[in-house]
């Protein structure tokens, strides 16, 4: 239908985009991970010592492990918030649906940074939460662990990523044909049985997509730990950032990035596989 010349012409911009902003940076990152730093200068000396350091120094494994734990907590918390919310909106919100949907989505338009700072003012020693607790005489001095802890990181990331979990689940629930729910009732299932036997299986692809969003985005997050994490809430992306910044060890930073990339690709692959397993068309 279209000439060959036309087809190759329109494929240039996307190909250029992928090459310039995806393949090239990844190639550079991968190359850096195999180089070394000698006396404050990056030398193009091919070696695997960065990867050896990564596996031999327990600090990196510890931070990576903590990062995964935080990402898993964020995933679970945002699923626990996002699924019931999506369920309510899809099946029981009635005329309030449109308004509630907007209320969930609007925060996505507010800068991440603003939301992070908002949590800082809520959780800090002089913050809103501590002031409130003291006003009620529940505590008598500021509670320190609200801010600068893994807890604070999980809280902020859950707040930020719950809409990302909500959206695919909501879409999946909205797509369940309503006659299926009537058929379930007609065959003798009450609402609890209908939920577990029909609604949950049919919304599983959305749930997996949401969980993948939350986990992968949390895994690479560095702003939340920077703002509210403190030393005990440091995540792997903060390590990478400092290696590329103050520590000036780009090769080691690149090696860690490659490691995160491999984990992420594995997770996406797994999620894709599971979603296919649960897709019914």
């Amino acid at each position: 239908m279209f000439s060959r010349a036309y087809r190759s012409l329109v494929s240039i911009p996307p190909l250029f985009w992928v090459a310039a902003f995806l393949l090239l940076p990844y190639a550079l990152m991968f190359a850096h991970s195999l180089w070394a730093v000698r006396e404050g200068v990056i030398v193009h000396h091919w070696n695997l010592s960065n990867y050896k350091t990564l596996f031999s120094n327990p600090v990196y494994a510890e931070v990576l492990f903590r990062t995964m734990r935080i990402a898993a907590s964020v995933t679970i918390c945002s699923l626990l918030l996002g699924y019931p919310l999506a369920y309510y909106l899809a099946f029981h919100a009635g005329q309030r649906k449109e308004l509630l949907y907007q209320l969930v989505v609007v925060p996505l338009w507010v800068s991440y940074l603003v939301r992070g700072y908002a949590w800082k003012t809520i959780l800090g020693s002089d913050g809103v939460l501590n002031g409130f607790l003291q006003y009620l005489h529940i505590t008598h001095e500021p509670v320190g662990f609200f801010l600068y802890s893994p807890f604070a990181v999980v809280l902020v990331l859950t707040h930020i990523y719950t809409p990302f979990v909500f959206l695919p689940i909501y879409a999946a629930l909205e797509h369940i044909p309503r006659p299926l729910l009537e058929a379930s009732q007609d065959l003798g299932a009450g609402s609890v049985q209908t939920f577990w036997r029909v609604i949950v299986p049919l919304s599983t692809p959305g749930l997996l997509a949401g969980a993948t969003f939350a986990f992968v985005l949390s895994l690479g997050d560095f702003l939340a730990p920077l703002l509210v994490g403190g030393p005990s809430g440091t995540m792997i992306a903060n390590v990478v950032q400092s290696l590329f910044g103050a520590a000036f060890d780009w090769p080691l930073g690149a090696a860690i990035s490659v490691g995160i990339l491999v984990i992420t690709i594995f997770l996406l692959f797994l999620s894709e596989l599971l979603e296919k397993r649960w897709a019914f068309k």
């Binding site: 009537e182 379930s184 009732q185 007609d186 003798g188 049919l202």
Partner: protein, 371 residues
């Protein structure tokens, strides 16, 4: 919802065989009266069809019986107990949905097993009964297939098996054949009818297709704008339509509008003696009740007229003629296939075949709706 009567309803002998009774049921959606004072009873083992155009309320009535909607007033009784107060999952009623509503994440086998498993039936009994149901609809080899891998007709069979495996007292079928192509539809009609005879379960079937209703039903309940127009057996409703609407909806007919004066009915160019009081009148005259009369001879009970053939529609064994009997009065005549016709001919029909019908705008009272 209206208050339930203090005493259980007294049932006379005619009604005691009734499985389902719909009593003065009305349904309003906002300002719209979707159903107006419907009363209908269904005998055990009967095949009753709710027939009507879209928007006539037939699906709503089915949904009230299934329990997906609540009546605005009136009651529904089944086997001597109130049905309309039960949630759908407690009713011994199963439904075959219009687009089957098979669970896409379950195999054909598991779709059929759903109702049994939900009720906590023992695994061995589940597999026995599912097997039996699959055999009944001739789908054993598709037990493991997901609905998306099945054709429309196969999905239809699974939907039927999924409902019947629960051994309902009453099976509701909501236009179950409307998504199938014409040939498959005919085949499924015949299988459905055979199945219903075999298992003896009461069927309440919804359709807008009058031919389907005629072919399948023991009785037809014709709905019009939320009210019952006529309830009768297919033969009865065809031979003696109560209203002009029924006569036109069930099969083809000629509606002859005219008046009776001095024991003579005159409708346009046609007139014949009747023994009825004076006044305006409508007769229904089926096209096949009129025949060509080549020799010009008529019996005393017949009406003869001369008319010009305007159109001729050939349909194999018969052909339909549109004839003009003067002053623009057009009649449809169905005759055995006989080759091209033109010009004027003599036609006759028996006076007994001109059935007097009502205008039918008023609501039909419930006493006309006896089983």
């Amino acid at each position: 919802m209206s208050a339930s009567p203090a005493n259980p309803p007294e049932q006379d002998t005619a009604e005691s065989a009734a499985l389902l009774e719909v009593r003065n049921v009305a349904k309003r959606f906002g300002a719209v009266d979707v159903l107006k004072n419907i009363s209908l009873s269904l005998g055990a083992g009967e095949f009753l069809t709710l027939l009507g155009e879209s928007g006539s309320g037939k699906t709503t009535l089915l949904r009230l019986i299934a329990g997906f909607e609540q009546p605005s007033s009136g009651e529904i009784w089944m086997s001597g107990a109130r049905l309309d107060l039960l949630p759908p999952y407690k009713r011994r009623v199963n439904t075959v949905f219009q687009n089957y509503a098979l669970f896409p994440h379950l195999s054909a086998h598991d779709n059929i097993a759903y109702g049994l498993r939900v009720k906590g039936t023992e695994a061995s009994e589940v597999s026995n009964r599912v097997e039996e149901a699959l055999r009944m609809v001739k789908m054993q080899e598709f037990a493991g297939s997901r609905p998306s891998k099945l054709s429309g007709g196969q999905q239809q069979r699974i939907a039927l098996a999924r409902a019947l495996v629960n051994r309902p007292q009453l099976l509701l079928l909501d236009e179950p054949l409307s998504a199938l192509d014409a040939n498959l539809r005919k085949q499924m009609q015949s299988e459905l009818k055979a199945l219903q005879r075999e298992i003896g379960i009461t069927f309440l079937f919804v359709t807008h297709d009058q031919e389907e209703a005629m072919a399948l039903s023991d009785r037809i309940a014709l709905l019009r704008d939320g009210a019952l127009e006529q309830v009768a057996s297919p033969r009865e409703i065809y031979a003696h339509p109560a209203t002009a609407y029924t006569a036109q909806f069930i099969g083809q007919t000629n509606l002859l509008r005219g008046e009776i004066r001095g024991s003579i009915a005159s409708c346009g160019a046609l007139c014949w003696p009747v023994e009825e009081a004076d006044g305006p009148v409508i007769f229904s005259l089926r096209p096949e009740a009129i025949r060509i009369c080549p020799d010009g001879q008529r019996q005393t009970s017949e009406v003869k007229f001369r008319a010009a053939v305007r159109q001729q529609f050939y349909s194999g064994s018969t052909e339909l003629l549109e004839v003009d009997c003067g002053s623009g009065q057009t009649l449809r005549v169905r005759v055995p296939a006989r080759g091209p016709l033109a010009g004027e001919h003599e036609f006759v029909f028996s006076m007994a075949d001109a059935i007097r019908v009502e205008e039918g705008t008023k609501e039909v009272s419930s006493k006309q709706i006896t089983s």
